[in-house]
């Protein structure tokens, strides 16, 4: 009985937190940047190069690490970074503000990454470790719930490093969808347009990618727990 109420409360907490997240998201989307980026774009189009430098400074990190996640090689990511901002500058007149300026930039960067991957035909050699196997056909009967594991700054940094390595183990097509959706916040439609695939294919790849990442994270948290217990003995 206790377990039933416990699970019910956990589930209720889950639902409420998702509703709060959705509200925060709507609020922040309404509040943020149309405006700073939109204004800078307008100034660039009027001939102010200084405004373009500001746009570069605001978004260079996001574009660089986006390319790193796709290509896993700094030299390649630097090429993508340079090419993306050059193309953005040349094509700035076509930015209509339908999506955020950052999303528009990341679409350009993604296309550049795809071209680079196709050219070098290294679609699958970017993995740092053994590629992860994606099955997801059956739910195990016993699942460890690590969603409330305590954490601190050091562990968060360590977890982020693990996430980057875990992403690199995904097959190319699924990694791209995961990065665009869960890291960069693209909609499924934006991903389908950027990668040239149907929304159904996007959803399917995203689902497989998330299942694989959940599995890797389960092993990671399990190991971390074992190490923690070993250290306090």
């Amino acid at each position: 009985m206790f377990m039933y109420h416990y699970m019910q409360n956990r589930f209720l907490a889950f639902s409420i937190s998702k509703m709060e997240d959705a509200e925060k998201e709507t609020y922040s989307k309404e509040q943020k940047a149309p405006d700073k980026d939109g204004l800078l774009v307008k100034q660039v189009l009027e001939g102010d190069y200084g405004a373009f430098e500001q746009l570069v400074k605001r978004h260079q990190s996001r574009v660089f690490y986006h390319a790193m996640r796709f290509l896993n090689r700094q030299e390649d990511a630097e090429d993508i970074l340079q090419d993306t901002f050059l193309r953005a500058f040349k094509g700035l007149g076509s930015f209509r503000g339908d999506s955020s300026f950052l999303t528009w930039l990341l679409k350009i960067a993604t296309n550049n990454c795809l071209m680079k991957l196709r050219k070098s035909k290294k679609m699958d050699i970017v993995s740092l470790d053994k590629p992860v196997e994606i099955d997801g056909s059956e739910l195990p009967r016993e699942i460890e719930d690590w969603s409330n594991n305590p954490s601190d700054q050091r562990l968060e940094d360590e977890t982020r490093e693990f996430l980057n390595k875990a992403m690199a183990r995904l097959p190319e097509d699924k990694r791209m969808v995961l990065v665009l959706k869960d890291v960069e916040g693209f909609t499924n439609l934006e991903i389908s347009e950027t990668l040239g695939m149907s929304v159904a294919a996007v959803k399917s790849r995203l689902h497989r990618a998330r299942l694989a990442m959940r599995d890797l994270l389960s092993h990671y948290f399990e190991e971390r727990e074992v190490n923690y217990k070993r250290n306090i003995q």
Binding site: A22, V56, L86, S147, H207, S218
Partner: protein, 80 residues
Amino acid sequence: MKCADILEKISDYLDKELDPSICKEIENHVQDCEPCIAFLNTMRKTVELFNDVGKRETEIPGPVSDKLMNFLKQNVIEKK
């Protein structure tokens, strides 16, 4: 609804892509199924962790930024 259905629909559920009636079925099932709630919580946490990666990007290395600025100056300003 069975556990296998939850497994198949979990991403769409988390992304609010399902009909309300299917969401309700999932929620009814999960309330009484311990593995499914653990699965749901850990999938949700997985997505949150990746969302967080994007939000907490580290700064670009200084030399990479300098190289970019020089490249743009050469290719944008000087070619005007």
